[in-house]
């Protein structure tokens, strides 16, 4: 398949991710949408790496995955801490300060 198909797939995934972040109200769904954006990046990186015949892009993918895992650890900890105090995962209810 040509490079364009992979990049199109990645663009579609990225847009779905962005839409999810902007439209969803549950913090977990928002977070999953962000992960989807990162995976769109990974698809693009892997496809470009194959296109150029280099390894840089594929190695970048590993870094993105590792960092996403670290982010997930911190993010879920923050969600749990908030849930303990407020019993909600709805971002519109977490509004001591206005958005």
């Amino acid at each position: 398949m040509p490079l364009v198909s992979y990049i199109s797939l990645s663009a579609v995934l990225f847009v779905i991710g962005v839409m999810g972040v902007l439209l969803k109200r549950n913090v977990l769904t928002i977070f999953m949408s962000i992960e989807l954006m990162l995976n769109a990046v990974n698809v693009a990186l892997a496809a470009f790496a194959r296109h150029h015949g280099g390894l840089d892009g594929q190695i970048f993918v590993f870094f993105v995955m590792a960092v996403a895992a670290a982010e997930a650890a911190v993010g879920l900890a923050i969600f749990i801490a908030i849930f303990r105090l407020k019993q909600t995962t709805d971002v519109t209810e977490i509004n001591l300060m206005r958005w």
């Binding site: 913090v27 990046v41 970048f60 911190v74 993010g75 958005w99």
Partner: protein
Amino acid sequence: MNEILTPAIDWAMVGPILTLTVTACVVLLVAATPARRGPLPFILTLAGLGAATGSLLALWERSVHQSAFGNMLVMDRAALYMGGIVLFSALLSVLLSRQYLERVPAPAAEYYALLLLAAMGMLVMASSNNLLVIFMGLEIFSVALYVLSGITRDWLRSLEAALKYFLLGAFSTGFILYGMAFIYGATGSLDLLACCRQARDLLAGQGDSGMALVLLLGLALMIAGLAFKVAAVPFHWWVPDVYEGSPTPVTAFMAVGTKGVAFLVLLRLVTTTFGDVLVAQWTMVLAVLALLSMFVGNLVALVQRNIKRMLAFSSVAHAGYLLVAVAAGTDLGTSAMLFYFAAYMLTTLGAFGVASLVAETTEKGDQGYGMERYAGLSRSNPGLALAMSVFMLSLTGVPPLAGFVGKYFIFQAALQRGLEGSRIFLVLSVVGILLSVVSAAYYLRVIVTMYMVNPEGERPRVVTAPDTGFAIAVAALGLFYLGLYPTAVYDMTRSLHTTLQALAALWLG
């Protein structure tokens, strides 16, 4: 048996980064012992920051161009200058934190370790010369700051700030990453200078024409993500809430460090890497961002009644001024941006430092960031009120303080571009100067409240610990120094532009 060859690595080159990492690990180990309650973590942190500053200065004395790890890191003077600013702001922020941490329910040792790690990530990002390293530096300090902003985890406000910072920060990281993927796709390299060479060929019409479009898209996405990190309008909505909810010394460090390294990377991208190939495109984008930031920041700050929110919008406005300098793209612009940043660091740390002292802690969190709490401060704490006045006047841009000199350099750079015939820069300088005048209204309101408004009831004296007082005094005196004798630092920043350009020239051959 074949010998395993290891690449030659100059460890001194990553001295500051290594020092901070090791110190952070040691502090974390101390956090597991009973010594965590004593002054040990604080002392270790200060020592680590001091040692890192020492090795940074040693690098400064060495040659001007130095790189490590196959040019993934460049320790040029621009990186060292911004690294110095990061370390200095971390130092002041640690000094401000000790007293603050005694009254808030936060684990002090972990707090210091995270602050050190955040500073380390900022140093990595400041000296990165590779898209992958930019990303790693960015994430190291961002993840540390997500935790730091929510470290008072019994306070909903602080957690809310952490949540918003985390979600929006990760969102912006997605954009930066996608931009990087496209730049990599178009140029086939992660190294900034190799990207630079490829970009020239692409835009000169050699190679795939579709790839030129991909490159533009990548640059646009990266600029959007970085604009988010520097809090430029329209990517600023997280700023007021995160700045308000985070523990105040963290806010100060976050405001300075994040912005500083993000601006340096922006500078590297637009003036060095894509400096002469995409000028028209990025100049216009940055100019529009600058205009919007100055407008929204200054006008919304006018109606704020909470000092932290006011300072947050003021930092949006200042991101606008700094963007004017970056957009100018000339040597004057670069040096003005770097000089102004030194002034911005001192005022921001000082102002947030005073705010953290004047506030009080209750069970629900920090209270007393309202403007009315400053009434009568001049009588209960004359020194503190004087220092706050200096910070506010410097933010406004009143001579002889550093803020004035910095703004002068920025608008000089913009006017120079304007007089060369670039109309947008004429608009930028006129609007910027007018909005600086408008900004006097909300900065002076703090001074008026401190000196002329009588407090309702007794105004309790604010207790200032010696280290906190020292940090605030250093910030205030630094503003006088930069304002009265700007030459030394300005000459330094002038030479930094040459450094950035020389780096590109060196590699392009």
